[in-house]
Subunit: 412 residues, 4 copies
């Protein structure tokens, strides 16, 4: 006995690798296929269309294949509205729920297709029947009675299609190589940042304390001041050492300009936190003139929002740190919809956390001296990330320099 | 004009590197020194004693030198009681406070020397004058009016001395090499664990989810069951994937036994969390028979306590996860005083967090495929860590095997 | 004005990613395309066929595109014999020469298609007109007057097609992750080795000295003895430390069983070389009973050929080491045609060197504690390599154990 | 029964860690000790002196201890001339030979102390009795009848003493951290290079092809031209890709300025080699105007000698490449005595090879994106190396910039 279902695909599905992925998945999962229709876009700008019958001798396996194909953009030919099941309780998902991708997604509901809001990967879709809205909902936010979309029927996803043009980052494609022209790559990123800036787009920096330790605080602060970083996601350490450097010239007690360990310098980060505690907040410390430079200073002065998420290795922490991870996640998610590009520098934990919340179409650059940070980021689903194996202390000053060259600013 | 102060050192100060560190520090910080007394322990078991006058043309610099020397175990010859200053407010340290090391520490107070309780690095010492107790206090816990020890006067630290015997881990000394005999190293660790176990000592495992992904969940659960892991510090991911593996045989959707991606397997970790949510807690899920194997199961069954600390990359999380980092730190600290050995496997964040809370005399083994995890752990002050560059999926099963060989158990 | 050429593709060109690569290349290089024919294989076992017209406004660019497409298996529709140009001198390639891929290759010559012998990447094809043979020739071997194939006209390559079945190593696909089930992966490799062995196929080990340093010499010697390693490519260091370990129980002076540095042990490797020098060769040292165990011993006893290539960091070297790199390359190439599988363990230089000589269809497993070794191997064109981030000292004993389990041998 | 021998130490033996290392070794090897004399240099500039009796219940163990202590600068109090034994044959060392350190070394011979010439680690000392000279001799050069120094009696080594001043690279001390201020470190290296240059000292660059791939060829060529690199040790790849870049603007076929893969660019390195083959040598290619820029060009134009050592992964190779590793080693050794500083950039094999030939007092900087390169270099005995985890493509341009800033040159 054999079971079968029909799916369809359209768009630039050949050169975007979608047909390949679909067949690959069927073969790997032991299914069979037959092309019912394959209309190939003859020319570069033409779209293609395929209708494929998938079959298997096992009904569950067939469902498994279809579920996986769905994530590559395949739609069931059968048209039906999504089916909904109310959640049994807080953080309890119904068996067979639809798990989101990070691609733009629509559901068929109440007679039409509606766009899923706030899409991010590995979440549920909860439908609000009164407002006819579909909201991508992390498990953490699932509450009893929420109406959850089940299975793939009635759901369409739009995986990214290959651009019709030359891909600027083509050469970055394979793996995480450190053997690429550093200045050329940085110039390309600078160009994207300048263009995004000119279009009014926003760049998020996800940064670790190595930015300060490696001596890039000044250049990073300049990027904020000059408008090229528009939201900051970081932890207690980046903010603390930035303020430590601003107040005492040290980071973890080392004088950044000389490389010397300063007398009693290991206490400086606790003094820095104390100064901010006394003021009440980073904003207050800036406004009362306690903190007069640095990344956090420029954020305050230029109204660049920041989210400082706590972690179990924090000293202090600063009063602005959100020590509850679930609240910090919510706070970060508020800024995600506006972001056009993310620069992740020298922080694995924050990079993966932010990567999890991003739609796949957001340009994502991950810079780390350690190639495994990029590998893990991709392993966790942020496939769009472009990895650059470099040193924060070199990368950020060179990026600033390139941006200034492009925008005709003299170096300060 | 010249300023000077006298310090003294005693114990096995030559072969423990203490005299070297002291002179090195003075030279690096531009001070001068003169040996006033140097009585060298003639024989292997004799102790040595040195009295050194430090001088400098700058009073602040001299204080800086003395402060740094203190951390190597140097005491000011001047004998005085500690001076105390009340904290101005929550998380506001007084200028000039004494910052702790992770060595055993005593203060001179109220006529005698008292031991500082709960010592860990980079904290303050707060004195309770009524009870005549001195408590090592992280900045996070500092409250208005707490009496804080100032400067180094009246404080003694006891850096670890070199053992008089052959050092089993001698060959691990330099750097983080991957070119060492894997089975030999594991046998040595197994031996220490067995001996500690026989003495009634406790081992903490600080573990990351790669333990599950690399297929070591079963061996790790056996270590818990057989009594070789006595407390577990981890995050949501380790517990979730352990339970996912127990319920569905997968980790992040991959069948661990076959390496295949399972149909719809990417939803399994959310189902696992749901099952625990429905039960109410991991304990309840074990006791009602929902979870019947794995690391968390063995922890519950064998009364091995665990602390699951939340992070911003968590899905779910499980109901047992403490999402507030400050509360999670407190919870972890409760178990630290009883720990005789820490095994850190495949987790940088947790390793550094736990390392921060450990006294220096706790044997600390850090196993990671990535040498930079060990480097960072040491950079953050956990100098006693022994780094092993290996794969969790090979290390833990081999460790279990060695322990069983040593204790005469047949392999199951 | 516009230039165009027509190419054709056939086989399992969709799911093998060939059509995607072709379109991707055209788009990246700024060309245009039109599908003239696209016959899609309807069912899993049917082949597909495509004829595509490529066009560009620039003749050189068009040639560049066609040249790149060729490497993906595209053939020009124009049928012509290869054109040949004699080489001007030793190691002087004619402008416009055809540069080989590591895929099976045929040329149209003298009225028929002939197979290119000894195919490896980045070489020339030299035609012997008398014997009507085409030999893949590294630049190093090119001599004045050699008849060199020019351009892509008359050359066909056969890129690997995706298997019609489930791919055992599917889950290894993306990047170089360390988060995979170690024992499962090793079991799969063991299975392939056992099957290859049973079919009479040959496995080459490309090994670095870390095999000895990490304590895997015994397990590795057993693999040779039991017939699972059939040729060895290594350097002076592996052979020297193997013999050092056999004679003195040390590797670089460290007792592998205890981890202790042995008195005067740093001289042992020079003694080991001396013993072999005195005997005259490794074979003589084995046959006269000087060397009685180890990897090299088993190679001699079991007639497993080895090539020891010299490098500028060698001590000694052993008399069997071929210190001239060009001669060593030739020697290695002699064994390549018989190899069915290559296991590369803990050596970057040798892995890349051997990888360069391998046809793409040879199963290639690269095991290294350092993910960048695998990345570099792939960057240098050995795209078929499967990377495993693990520790030689754990990997080899676990591999031996799995092979013995599968073949029903008791553990010794 | 107990055996004992007396050793003595003098100099800045406390703060240089020598006394600590001596006691540490005795304890680790299970010996006993008694201080017979310990005169401590009271002040910073005073030297110290110690006479220690070592004892053990085992005569061989005692010899082992003394042999190891010797390497820390300990001398036997017994004064005797070295004993000599003739080598039995080529590359056959006499049992009990003296194995060199990389510290300055003297032997007592023929009534006086003579300096050992060409000192490097892990070699033998061969005495020429006619000329009363002692030559450090690698095993490779040992010939029948050579008079080889035996044991430690009559040999003195001078381990480096700690400078009396502030150590500029103090902060680099522990491990291979990537969390250091990049620009500050580079400024310090630039300062040393400028000072060495002004004193007429020589800098060797040991470089890998990643210098070209990462886009640093231009900056590196400028360092040669401006006199800051005075000898070059590299392989075929660096020279080939440098000339490829000079001729075609590509490295491994990638346009370094745009990051694009160039049509047929994968053939460019073979064309580059062909051009040099046709000219006959790199010098001829420069002098006939074929090569007009780049690192190799500047070496020729500025009479900077280079040694290109072959390896088994070479394509071509260039006619200047010395494919025999033993000859290449000899060639490299010719330049070692004049070198004041070595900069190792992005090459593990060459770095270790050169490190093996360097006396310990040569300032050695090792720059690699991969921390394990530095770890291995130190594991192989080049303990003086300062490791910098950074990207060649950022490091070299930043170094050039710093040197120009210091020497008042405007940027070009």
């Amino acid at each position: 006995m054999s079971f079968s279902r029909e799916i369809e695909l359209d768009g630039h599905i050949i050169d975007s690798g979608i047909v390949e992925n679909v067949l690959d998945t069927i073969l790997d999962m032991g299914g069979d296929f037959e092309f019912l229709v394959f209309e190939v876009g003859k020319k570069k700008t033409d779209k293609s269309y395929a209708k494929i019958r998938i079959s298997s001798d096992n009904c569950d396996k067939l469902d498994g294949i279809v579920s996986r194909l769905h994530r590559h953009g395949a739609r069931l030919v059968e048209v039906a509205e999504v089916s909904l099941v109310p959640a049994e309780g807080e953080r309890i998902v119904p068996k067979g729920f639809y798990s989101t991708t990070n691609y733009p997604t629509e559901i068929k509901y109440s007679g039409g297709w509606i766009q899923v809001e706030k899409i991010e990967m590995d979440c549920l879709i909860v439908v609000n029947p009164d407002e006819k809205r579909a909201i991508c909902t992390p498990m953490d936010k699932l509450r009893q009675g929420d109406l959850v979309v089940m299975g793939e029927l009635g759901v369409k996803v739009y995986p990214p299609e290959r651009s019709r043009d030359h891909n600027e980052f083509e050469f970055m494609g394979g793996g995480v190589s450190s053997e690429r022209p550093t200045e050329t790559i940085i110039a390309k990123i600078a160009k994207e940042m300048v263009e995004l800036h000119q279009r009014g787009g926003k760049v998020a920096l996800v940064g670790g304390p190595a930015i300060i330790h490696t001596g890039a605080a000044g250049a990073c602060a300049a990027l904020v001041r000059e408008g090229y970083i528009n939201v900051l996601f970081a932890g207690n350490a980046l903010a603390t050492h930035d303020i430590e450097y601003s107040l005492y010239g040290t980071s973890l007690g080392m004088n950044i300009k000389t490389g010397d360990l300063v007398s009693a310098g290991h206490k400086n980060h606790l003094y820095a936190i104390s100064e901010v505690m006394r003021a009440g907040s980073i904003r207050a410390a800036v406004e009362t003139g306690v903190v007069r430079s640095g990344i956090m200073y420029e954020c305050i002065k230029n109204n660049v929002p920041f989210v400082l998420a706590g972690s179990i290795r924090d000293d202090g922490p600063l009063p602005d740190v959100i020590s509850d991870a679930r609240i910090a996640q919510d706070e970060m998610r508020k800024y995600v919809p506006d972001i056009g590009m993310v620069l992740m520098v020298a922080t694995m934990l924050h990079s993966i956390a932010v990567g999890n919340c991003l739609p796949a179409y957001v340009r994502t650059i991950c810079v780390d001296i350690n190639p495994s940070t990029v590998t893990k980021l991709m392993d966790r689903g942020t496939m769009q990330a472009i990895g650059i194996v470099s040193d924060a202390g070199a990368f950020i000053p060179m990026l600033l320099r390139q941006i200034r060259l492009m925008t005709g600013q003299s170096e300060e």
